[in-house]
């Protein structure tokens, strides 16, 4: 069984959804993602309009659109983690006791934290090297690449924090669940 809340329009909650209230970090990330979505719409929309009406293109929509996508990708990670909106295959989970589910969630969170920490480490390295070598995008804007790439490190750091929060929640679940409960 799969989490039935993948996409726009899904109305029913998944049977074993465990969320954590959004904190200031997740809220800030969400607003930044929404701002990126609006910027995408405005920049690409403006480019379509000027090309159609004035036969003129700013030639920045591809570049800015890509940066905004990266912003949404990396800053939405923590939002998805605390809201438990990532897909899950629940074929085994539905057959487990509450305690076993909490234990497995803890184990998965530990693995996820390891992955998030690894990403953070590599994204910081990339960020530092972009800064040190003064890398610039080979585009009209010649954007210094450390700036748009910053969202990768921030997003991975926010994900680490969000995983720690869900980990704490699953620990509480584990403590409160009966040893032989179903």
């Amino acid at each position: 069984m799969t989490d039935a809340t993948e996409s726009a329009g899904a109305q029913a909650p998944a049977p074993h959804k465990h969320t954590v209230p959004e904190g200031p970090v997740e809220r800030a990330c969400k607003w930044a993602c929404e701002a990126a979505l609006l910027v995408m719409l405005v920049v690409i929309g403006t480019d379509i309009f000027t090309r159609w009406a004035l036969n003129f293109s700013f030639q920045v929509s591809d570049e800015i659109g890509g940066y905004m996508l990266a912003t949404i990708t990396f800053l939405s990670l923590s939002v998805c983690q605390v809201n438990d909106t990532f897909h899950h295959v629940e074929i085994i989970q539905t057959r487990l006791s509450e305690r076993a589910r909490a234990l497995s969630a803890l184990f998965f969170d530990l693995l996820t934290f390891g992955f998030a920490a690894l990403l953070l480490w590599h994204y910081i390295r990339l960020e530092l090297s972009s800064w040190r070598f003064g890398e610039r995008a080979p585009t009209y804007l010649e954007t210094p690449l450390w700036f748009p790439r910053l969202v990768m490190a921030i997003g991975a750091a926010a994900l680490c924090l969000a995983v720690l929060r869900t980990l704490a929640m699953h620990l509480r679940r584990l403590r409160s669940s009966p040893r032989s409960g179903t």
């Binding site: 329009g9 719409l41 992955f115």
Partner: protein
């Protein structure tokens, strides 16, 4: 340890984590990282940052959150209810009544949404209460909605095709257009089946009355009109080569906002809610894409793609046997892996083989999406089955049995596309632009 064994360990770990219930993107990422570590130790991870940036700083993928935002605006502003209401007047007089409306509604919603789940949930949420209250056959009701929902990834726009296109550098607009004719054939076949079944067994669907006056007919057309405008505005420009896929998605979003405000219930509060949902849902899909790139990076690092190609070519299968082998593979995978996961895990392995069989990448994109569609209504994890089951009071068993005839129709469409690739390739060959 041999490369083959390392690959098998990674795949077994992936399947184990996935079925055990780990979030799909992380169930892809963790084995990919372990695989990279087995292949080259810590230095093998050194490209992780640059690879992540390169894969997600992509203008092609920018259309994913935009199409998602468009579908969310349509759902949340009540326009999907409106289309069902209009279609129920226009299509329901056919034998099968509202069951026909389910398929037509799904086909139209699929044309503005890239996701099967969004399609099944949006139309199912509106349709099921009416179907139950009017004593429609429960299996047929659930089956038609679960199967109709799968049109979401065959008819453009399609997230499956966007992901396939971005992985294989195949033209996404051409992939979109390649899905149109097979999607329409499938819609017609679904409707023909429902009509025939309703004529043979009148108990499955009561006869519905069409519009009783010109005014009612015009009102029904007016309900369908916003979607017709949206489909024309979004896909028309892409087909004509006037705009890219992402620009088409932007136009779609702007039109959806306009139509939602004029014809629907789109208020500033609802608009903000649509943005919240878009961030949550697109974050999930984008992370699956990112982790799939990491998996793909590991596969290319190991050179597994070349080995798989050599192995498959060594089997000396003919084209038909190759498709049959794929059919077996995807039928098994469809029961184990969710749809996007199925694409991103298999494409890096299978795509290099296509050239040896002279299979057009665009045609293969359509075949792949059809395989994925089958997986979406295959137990035990077919996601559309659960979407429909979660919005009504029926048993999963009824949904599964209800989809069986639609499964068979999908096999027929799949066979048609394999035997007559022009069904998929004719439209892309006649479109303007890249």
């Amino acid at each position: 340890m041999t490369v083959e064994l390392q690959f098998i360990i990674a795949m077994v770990l992936f399947l184990a984590l996935l079925t055990a219930g780990m979030a799909v993107p992380f169930a892809i990422a963790v084995p990919a990282i372990i695989y990279l570590l087995m292949l080259g130790g810590l230095p093998a991870l050194s490209g992780l940052g640059l690879m992540s940036w390169g894969s997600m700083n992509s203008f092609v993928l920018t259309c994913v959150p935009l199409f998602m935002f468009m579908a969310e605006i349509l759902r949340i502003s009540g326009l999907s209810s409106r289309i069902y209401g209009g279609l129920s007047k226009l299509v329901a007089p056919l034998p099968g009544g509202l069951l026909q409306t389910n398929i037509a509604g799904c086909a139209i919603f699929a044309s503005v949404s890239g996701s099967s789940i969004a399609t099944a949930a949006s139309i199912g949420g509106v349709a099921l209460p009416q179907l139950v209250s009017r004593n429609y056959d429960r299996r047929m009701s659930a089956g038609s909605l679960a199967a109709g929902g799968t049109l979401g990834i065959l008819l453009p726009p399609s997230f499956g095709m966007i992901v396939y296109g971005s992985f294989t550098e195949t033209s996404v607009p051409k992939l979109f257009m390649a899905g149109v004719i097979p999607g329409l054939i499938m819609t017609v076949f679904f409707m023909l089946y429902i009509g025939t079944h309703a004529l043979l067994r009148p108990g499955v669907a009561p006869r519905e009355r069409g519009p009783q006056s010109i005014a009612e007919l015009l009102r029904a057309f007016a309900d369908v009109l916003p979607f017709a405008l949206l489909i024309t505005g979004t896909l028309g420009g892409i087909y004509a080569g006037l705009v890219t896929t992402t620009e088409g998605a932007t136009i779609g979003c702007l039109l959806a906002i306009l139509l939602g405000a004029v014809f629907g219930k789109l208020t500033p509060r609802v608009f903000v809610e649509a943005m919240h949902n878009t961030v949550k849902f697109s974050g999930n899909i984008l992370l699956i894409i990112l982790t799939a790139y990491i998996f793909s990076y590991a596969i290319s690092f190991a050179g597994v793609g070349e080995k798989v190609t050599a192995f498959v070519v060594g089997l000396s299968l003919n084209r038909l046997e190759f498709f049959f082998a794929l059919f077996i593979l995807y039928t098994v995978l469809g029961c184990l892996i969710e749809s996007l996961g199925m694409i991103v895990i298999t494409v890096p392995l299978i795509f290099p083989v296509l050239h040896s069989y002279g299979i057009d990448p665009i045609m293969f994109g359509v075949v792949l999406v059809l395989f994925v569609e089958l997986g979406q209504i295959s137990p035990p994890i077919g996601i559309n089955l659960f979407v429909i089951q979660s919005i009504w009071d029926g048993k999963l068993n009824e949904v599964v049995l209800g989809t069986v005839p639609f499964h068979l129709i999908m096999f027929v469409v799949l066979a048609l596309v394999i035997f007559w690739p022009d069904l998929a390739l004719w439209l892309p060959q006649h479109m303007s632009g890249p």
